[in-house]
Protein backbone atom coordinates (compact mmCIF):
# COMPACT_ATOMS: atom_id res chain seq x y z
CA UNK A 1 0.00 0.00 0.00
CA UNK A 2 1.77 3.10 -1.26
CA UNK A 3 -0.56 5.67 0.22
CA UNK A 4 -1.28 6.08 3.88
CA UNK A 5 -4.81 4.96 4.53
CA UNK A 6 -6.42 5.79 7.82
CA UNK A 7 -10.04 4.95 7.08
CA UNK A 8 -9.57 1.19 7.04
CA UNK A 9 -8.35 0.76 10.57
CA UNK A 10 -10.71 -0.95 12.94
CA UNK A 11 -12.62 0.98 15.54
CA UNK A 12 -13.44 -0.39 18.96
CA UNK A 13 -16.90 -1.06 17.54
CA UNK A 14 -15.46 -3.57 15.10
CA UNK A 15 -16.14 -1.55 11.97
CA UNK A 16 -13.57 0.16 9.82
CA UNK A 17 -13.47 3.88 10.60
CA UNK A 18 -14.51 4.80 7.07
CA UNK A 19 -17.52 2.56 7.23
CA UNK A 20 -18.54 3.76 10.66
CA UNK A 21 -18.30 7.32 9.36
CA UNK A 22 -20.46 6.62 6.33
CA UNK A 23 -23.15 5.00 8.48
CA UNK A 24 -23.16 8.02 10.78
CA UNK A 25 -23.43 10.24 7.73
CA UNK A 26 -26.38 8.23 6.42
CA UNK A 27 -27.99 8.35 9.87
CA UNK A 28 -27.85 12.14 9.78
CA UNK A 29 -29.14 12.12 6.22
CA UNK A 30 -32.16 10.15 7.37
CA UNK A 31 -33.00 12.99 9.75
CA UNK A 32 -32.50 15.61 7.02
CA UNK A 33 -34.56 13.90 4.35
CA UNK A 34 -36.97 12.40 6.87
CA UNK A 35 -37.73 15.87 8.22
CA UNK A 36 -38.22 17.23 4.74
CA UNK A 37 -40.42 14.40 3.51
CA UNK A 38 -42.30 14.30 6.83
CA UNK A 39 -43.05 18.02 6.51
CA UNK A 40 -44.23 17.47 2.95
CA UNK A 41 -46.52 14.62 3.98
CA UNK A 42 -48.13 16.49 6.87
CA UNK A 43 -48.71 19.55 4.69
CA UNK A 44 -50.04 17.41 1.89
CA UNK A 45 -52.55 15.83 4.28
CA UNK A 46 -53.72 19.29 5.37
CA UNK A 47 -53.90 20.76 1.89
CA UNK A 48 -56.22 18.91 -0.47
CA UNK A 49 -55.58 21.54 -3.14
CA UNK A 50 -52.04 20.24 -3.55
CA UNK A 51 -53.48 17.37 -5.55
CA UNK A 52 -54.38 19.99 -8.16
CA UNK A 53 -50.79 21.21 -8.24
CA UNK A 54 -49.27 17.74 -8.32
CA UNK A 55 -51.00 16.85 -11.60
CA UNK A 56 -48.48 19.10 -13.33
CA UNK A 57 -45.41 17.10 -12.31
CA UNK A 58 -44.00 15.02 -15.15
CA UNK A 59 -44.43 11.36 -14.20
CA UNK A 60 -42.45 10.21 -17.25
CA UNK A 61 -39.44 12.30 -16.32
CA UNK A 62 -39.70 11.11 -12.72
CA UNK A 63 -40.09 7.53 -13.91
CA UNK A 64 -37.11 7.74 -16.23
CA UNK A 65 -35.02 9.10 -13.38
CA UNK A 66 -36.18 6.25 -11.13
CA UNK A 67 -35.05 3.77 -13.77
CA UNK A 68 -31.71 5.56 -14.12
CA UNK A 69 -31.03 5.62 -10.37
CA UNK A 70 -32.03 1.98 -9.86
CA UNK A 71 -29.71 0.99 -12.70
CA UNK A 72 -26.88 3.12 -11.36
CA UNK A 73 -27.32 1.43 -7.98
CA UNK A 74 -26.80 -1.91 -9.75
CA UNK A 75 -23.54 -0.59 -11.21
CA UNK A 76 -22.49 0.65 -7.76
CA UNK A 77 -23.00 -2.74 -6.12
CA UNK A 78 -21.20 -4.46 -9.02
CA UNK A 79 -18.33 -2.01 -8.53
CA UNK A 80 -18.25 -3.02 -4.87
CA UNK A 81 -18.12 -6.66 -5.90
CA UNK A 82 -15.25 -5.96 -8.29
CA UNK A 83 -13.40 -4.13 -5.51
CA UNK A 84 -13.88 -7.10 -3.20
CA UNK A 85 -12.28 -9.25 -5.87
CA UNK A 86 -9.38 -6.80 -5.96
CA UNK A 87 -10.17 -5.78 -9.55
CA UNK A 88 -9.57 -2.03 -9.37
CA UNK A 89 -9.89 -1.21 -13.09
CA UNK A 90 -13.24 -3.04 -13.32
CA UNK A 91 -14.47 -1.29 -10.18
CA UNK A 92 -13.41 2.03 -11.70
CA UNK A 93 -15.31 1.31 -14.92
CA UNK A 94 -18.44 0.40 -13.01
CA UNK A 95 -18.12 3.49 -10.83
CA UNK A 96 -17.83 5.54 -13.99
CA UNK A 97 -21.00 3.90 -15.28
CA UNK A 98 -22.66 4.89 -11.99
CA UNK A 99 -21.36 8.41 -12.50
CA UNK A 100 -22.90 8.46 -15.98
CA UNK A 101 -26.20 7.38 -14.41
CA UNK A 102 -26.01 10.41 -12.14
CA UNK A 103 -25.25 12.59 -15.13
CA UNK A 104 -28.28 11.19 -16.97
CA UNK A 105 -30.40 11.86 -13.89
CA UNK A 106 -29.29 15.50 -13.83
CA UNK A 107 -29.94 15.91 -17.57
CA UNK A 108 -33.51 14.65 -17.18
CA UNK A 109 -33.95 16.88 -14.14
CA UNK A 110 -32.68 19.89 -16.08
CA UNK A 111 -35.12 19.24 -18.91
CA UNK A 112 -37.95 18.68 -16.46
CA UNK A 113 -37.33 21.79 -14.37
CA UNK A 114 -36.78 23.99 -17.44
CA UNK A 115 -40.14 22.94 -18.79
CA UNK A 116 -41.90 23.48 -15.46
CA UNK A 117 -40.33 26.87 -14.84
CA UNK A 118 -41.20 27.94 -18.39
CA UNK A 119 -44.83 27.14 -17.59
CA UNK A 120 -44.76 29.25 -14.45
CA UNK A 121 -44.40 26.47 -11.90
CA UNK A 122 -41.59 28.14 -10.01
CA UNK A 123 -40.37 27.68 -6.46
CA UNK A 124 -42.40 30.72 -5.38
CA UNK A 125 -45.63 29.73 -7.14
CA UNK A 126 -47.06 28.15 -3.99
CA UNK A 127 -46.06 25.94 -1.07
CA UNK A 128 -46.37 22.73 -3.07
CA UNK A 129 -43.87 23.87 -5.67
CA UNK A 130 -41.62 25.19 -2.90
CA UNK A 131 -41.51 21.70 -1.41
CA UNK A 132 -41.11 20.16 -4.84
CA UNK A 133 -38.04 22.19 -5.75
CA UNK A 134 -36.55 22.05 -2.26
CA UNK A 135 -36.86 18.27 -1.89
CA UNK A 136 -35.77 17.44 -5.43
CA UNK A 137 -33.09 20.15 -5.28
CA UNK A 138 -31.49 18.88 -2.07
CA UNK A 139 -31.64 15.37 -3.50
CA UNK A 140 -30.04 16.61 -6.74
CA UNK A 141 -27.29 18.24 -4.70
CA UNK A 142 -26.59 14.88 -3.07
CA UNK A 143 -26.41 13.31 -6.52
CA UNK A 144 -23.84 15.91 -7.61
CA UNK A 145 -21.77 15.40 -4.44
CA UNK A 146 -21.89 11.62 -4.88
CA UNK A 147 -20.83 11.89 -8.52
CA UNK A 148 -17.88 14.12 -7.62
CA UNK A 149 -16.63 11.77 -4.92
CA UNK A 150 -17.21 8.81 -7.19
CA UNK A 151 -14.96 10.22 -9.90
CA UNK A 152 -12.16 10.70 -7.38
CA UNK A 153 -12.54 7.17 -6.00
CA UNK A 154 -12.78 5.68 -9.51
CA UNK A 155 -9.53 7.44 -10.45
CA UNK A 156 -7.73 5.84 -7.51
CA UNK A 157 -9.47 2.48 -7.90
CA UNK A 158 -8.27 2.32 -11.49
CA UNK A 159 -4.73 2.32 -10.08
CA UNK A 160 -5.69 -0.28 -7.49
CA UNK A 161 -5.62 2.20 -4.62
CA UNK A 162 -8.06 2.48 -1.70
CA UNK A 163 -10.51 -0.10 -2.97
CA UNK A 164 -12.36 -0.10 0.35
CA UNK A 165 -13.73 3.32 -0.62
CA UNK A 166 -15.69 1.78 -3.49
CA UNK A 167 -18.06 0.21 -1.00
CA UNK A 168 -18.34 3.41 1.02
CA UNK A 169 -19.35 5.60 -1.92
CA UNK A 170 -21.66 2.79 -3.02
CA UNK A 171 -23.46 2.89 0.33
CA UNK A 172 -23.93 6.63 -0.07
CA UNK A 173 -25.23 6.18 -3.61
CA UNK A 174 -27.73 3.50 -2.57
CA UNK A 175 -29.03 5.86 0.10
CA UNK A 176 -29.51 8.59 -2.51
CA UNK A 177 -31.39 5.99 -4.55
CA UNK A 178 -33.62 5.11 -1.57
CA UNK A 179 -34.47 8.78 -1.02
CA UNK A 180 -35.58 9.00 -4.64
CA UNK A 181 -37.60 5.80 -4.24
CA UNK A 182 -39.73 7.72 -1.71
CA UNK A 183 -39.65 11.07 -3.51
CA UNK A 184 -40.99 9.53 -6.70
CA UNK A 185 -44.41 8.45 -5.34
CA UNK A 186 -44.69 11.56 -3.16
CA UNK A 187 -44.07 14.07 -5.94
CA UNK A 188 -45.09 12.24 -9.08
CA UNK A 189 -47.53 9.44 -8.31
CA UNK A 190 -49.76 10.87 -5.58
CA UNK A 191 -51.87 13.15 -7.78
Amino acid sequence: MASKVIANTRTAAGLTTGKLAIWWLLGSEIVIFGGLLGSYIMHRLGHPEWANYAVHTNVWAGGLNTFILLTSSLFAVLAHQAAEHGDGPKAAKLLFATFCGGLGFLCVKTFEWSNEIAHGYTITANTFWSFYYTAAGIHGLHVIIGMSIMLFIAYNANKGKDLHRVELVGLYWHFVDIVWIFLFPLLYIAK
Binding site: A13, V31, G46, V55, I189
Partner: protein, 158 residues
Protein backbone atom coordinates in the same frame (compact mmCIF):
# COMPACT_ATOMS: atom_id res chain seq x y z
CA UNK B 1 -5.63 -4.74 -0.47
CA UNK B 2 -7.65 -7.80 0.23
CA UNK B 3 -7.90 -6.74 3.84
CA UNK B 4 -9.43 -3.45 2.83
CA UNK B 5 -12.01 -4.63 0.42
CA UNK B 6 -13.14 -7.79 2.13
CA UNK B 7 -16.13 -6.86 4.12
CA UNK B 8 -18.29 -9.83 3.61
CA UNK B 9 -16.54 -13.15 3.61
CA UNK B 10 -18.15 -14.61 0.48
CA UNK B 11 -16.35 -13.47 -2.65
CA UNK B 12 -18.04 -15.49 -5.35
CA UNK B 13 -19.48 -13.89 -8.44
CA UNK B 14 -22.95 -12.63 -7.52
CA UNK B 15 -23.54 -10.61 -10.66
CA UNK B 16 -26.60 -12.59 -11.75
CA UNK B 17 -28.03 -12.30 -8.23
CA UNK B 18 -27.67 -8.51 -8.29
CA UNK B 19 -29.18 -8.33 -11.77
CA UNK B 20 -32.18 -10.31 -10.51
CA UNK B 21 -32.65 -7.85 -7.65
CA UNK B 22 -32.42 -5.01 -10.16
CA UNK B 23 -35.07 -6.75 -12.28
CA UNK B 24 -37.33 -7.10 -9.25
CA UNK B 25 -36.86 -3.39 -8.50
CA UNK B 26 -37.87 -2.51 -12.05
CA UNK B 27 -40.99 -4.69 -11.84
CA UNK B 28 -41.95 -2.97 -8.58
CA UNK B 29 -41.27 0.40 -10.21
CA UNK B 30 -43.67 -0.48 -13.05
CA UNK B 31 -46.31 -1.51 -10.50
CA UNK B 32 -45.98 1.87 -8.79
CA UNK B 33 -46.50 3.65 -12.11
CA UNK B 34 -49.41 1.47 -13.24
CA UNK B 35 -51.22 1.54 -9.86
CA UNK B 36 -52.84 5.00 -10.17
CA UNK B 37 -54.38 4.08 -13.55
CA UNK B 38 -57.15 2.19 -11.71
CA UNK B 39 -58.01 5.35 -9.76
CA UNK B 40 -58.62 3.45 -6.53
CA UNK B 41 -57.05 5.55 -3.73
CA UNK B 42 -56.38 2.59 -1.43
CA UNK B 43 -54.75 0.65 -4.26
CA UNK B 44 -52.64 3.67 -5.24
CA UNK B 45 -51.52 4.01 -1.63
CA UNK B 46 -50.30 0.42 -1.69
CA UNK B 47 -48.75 0.46 -5.16
CA UNK B 48 -47.04 3.79 -4.55
CA UNK B 49 -45.92 3.83 -0.93
CA UNK B 50 -46.15 0.15 -0.04
CA UNK B 51 -44.10 -0.73 -3.08
CA UNK B 52 -41.63 2.08 -2.27
CA UNK B 53 -41.06 0.48 1.13
CA UNK B 54 -40.44 -2.90 -0.51
CA UNK B 55 -38.03 -1.34 -3.00
CA UNK B 56 -36.15 0.43 -0.21
CA UNK B 57 -35.98 -2.86 1.70
CA UNK B 58 -34.51 -4.66 -1.33
CA UNK B 59 -31.88 -1.97 -1.85
CA UNK B 60 -30.93 -1.97 1.84
CA UNK B 61 -30.78 -5.75 2.15
CA UNK B 62 -29.18 -6.75 -1.13
CA UNK B 63 -27.28 -3.69 -2.38
CA UNK B 64 -26.23 -2.18 0.96
CA UNK B 65 -25.90 -5.60 2.65
CA UNK B 66 -27.42 -4.13 5.77
CA UNK B 67 -28.29 -7.55 7.17
CA UNK B 68 -24.57 -8.38 7.24
CA UNK B 69 -23.71 -5.28 9.25
CA UNK B 70 -23.11 -5.05 12.96
CA UNK B 71 -25.96 -4.27 15.31
CA UNK B 72 -24.32 -0.89 15.92
CA UNK B 73 -25.21 0.17 12.38
CA UNK B 74 -28.83 -0.79 12.96
CA UNK B 75 -28.87 1.26 16.16
CA UNK B 76 -27.48 4.31 14.34
CA UNK B 77 -30.09 4.09 11.60
CA UNK B 78 -32.94 3.19 13.96
CA UNK B 79 -32.02 6.14 16.21
CA UNK B 80 -32.30 8.49 13.24
CA UNK B 81 -35.62 7.00 12.23
CA UNK B 82 -36.96 7.41 15.77
CA UNK B 83 -35.92 11.10 15.73
CA UNK B 84 -37.71 11.50 12.43
CA UNK B 85 -40.92 9.95 13.73
CA UNK B 86 -40.79 12.02 16.94
CA UNK B 87 -40.61 15.12 14.79
CA UNK B 88 -43.41 13.93 12.52
CA UNK B 89 -45.89 12.84 15.15
CA UNK B 90 -45.00 15.78 17.39
CA UNK B 91 -45.95 18.35 14.80
CA UNK B 92 -48.22 16.66 12.26
CA UNK B 93 -51.43 17.22 14.18
CA UNK B 94 -50.92 20.99 14.28
CA UNK B 95 -49.86 21.21 10.65
CA UNK B 96 -52.57 18.98 9.27
CA UNK B 97 -55.42 20.66 11.09
CA UNK B 98 -56.24 24.26 10.42
CA UNK B 99 -58.43 24.85 13.44
CA UNK B 100 -58.78 23.63 16.97
CA UNK B 101 -60.92 24.34 19.99
CA UNK B 102 -59.19 27.66 20.72
CA UNK B 103 -57.36 28.55 17.54
CA UNK B 104 -57.80 28.98 13.84
CA UNK B 105 -55.10 29.05 11.18
CA UNK B 106 -56.77 31.56 8.91
CA UNK B 107 -53.88 31.74 6.46
CA UNK B 108 -53.88 27.99 5.87
CA UNK B 109 -57.64 27.93 5.43
CA UNK B 110 -57.39 30.80 2.94
CA UNK B 111 -54.68 28.96 1.04
CA UNK B 112 -56.82 25.86 0.76
CA UNK B 113 -59.79 27.94 -0.39
CA UNK B 114 -57.72 29.75 -3.01
CA UNK B 115 -56.12 26.57 -4.25
CA UNK B 116 -59.41 24.72 -4.55
CA UNK B 117 -60.99 27.69 -6.30
CA UNK B 118 -58.13 27.83 -8.78
CA UNK B 119 -59.01 24.31 -9.86
CA UNK B 120 -56.02 23.17 -11.85
CA UNK B 121 -53.75 24.76 -9.34
CA UNK B 122 -51.80 26.83 -11.77
CA UNK B 123 -52.89 30.07 -10.20
CA UNK B 124 -50.28 29.72 -7.56
CA UNK B 125 -50.79 32.00 -4.64
CA UNK B 126 -47.93 33.44 -2.73
CA UNK B 127 -49.95 33.51 0.40
CA UNK B 128 -49.16 29.90 1.05
CA UNK B 129 -45.63 30.70 2.00
CA UNK B 130 -46.93 32.88 4.80
CA UNK B 131 -48.83 30.16 6.43
CA UNK B 132 -46.43 29.53 9.23
CA UNK B 133 -45.91 33.24 9.74
CA UNK B 134 -49.60 33.62 10.11
CA UNK B 135 -49.89 31.52 13.19
CA UNK B 136 -53.23 31.17 14.22
CA UNK B 137 -54.28 33.04 17.20
CA UNK B 138 -57.28 32.78 19.39
CA UNK B 139 -58.72 35.78 17.63
CA UNK B 140 -57.99 34.26 14.29
CA UNK B 141 -55.60 37.01 13.28
CA UNK B 142 -52.07 36.97 12.13
CA UNK B 143 -52.73 35.76 8.69
CA UNK B 144 -50.50 37.62 6.32
CA UNK B 145 -51.51 34.94 3.93
CA UNK B 146 -54.87 36.56 3.78
CA UNK B 147 -53.23 39.47 2.06
CA UNK B 148 -51.19 37.25 -0.15
CA UNK B 149 -53.92 37.51 -2.70
CA UNK B 150 -54.08 35.40 -5.75
CA UNK B 151 -50.99 36.05 -7.76
CA UNK B 152 -51.16 34.37 -11.06
CA UNK B 153 -48.03 32.62 -12.07
CA UNK B 154 -46.50 33.71 -15.37
CA UNK B 155 -48.24 32.21 -18.35
CA UNK B 156 -51.25 31.61 -16.24
CA UNK B 157 -54.13 29.66 -17.55
CA UNK B 158 -52.73 26.16 -17.65
Amino acid sequence: MAEQAHAHGDHGDHTSHYVKIWGALLVLFLISVIGPIFEIPALTLITAFGVACVKAFLVMKYFMHLDAELKLVWYILAGSLVLMFVFFFGTAADVRNHEGSRWVNVAAQAEVARGMAAGDGHHGEHGGGHEEGGHATEEGHGAEGEHGGTHEAPNGGH
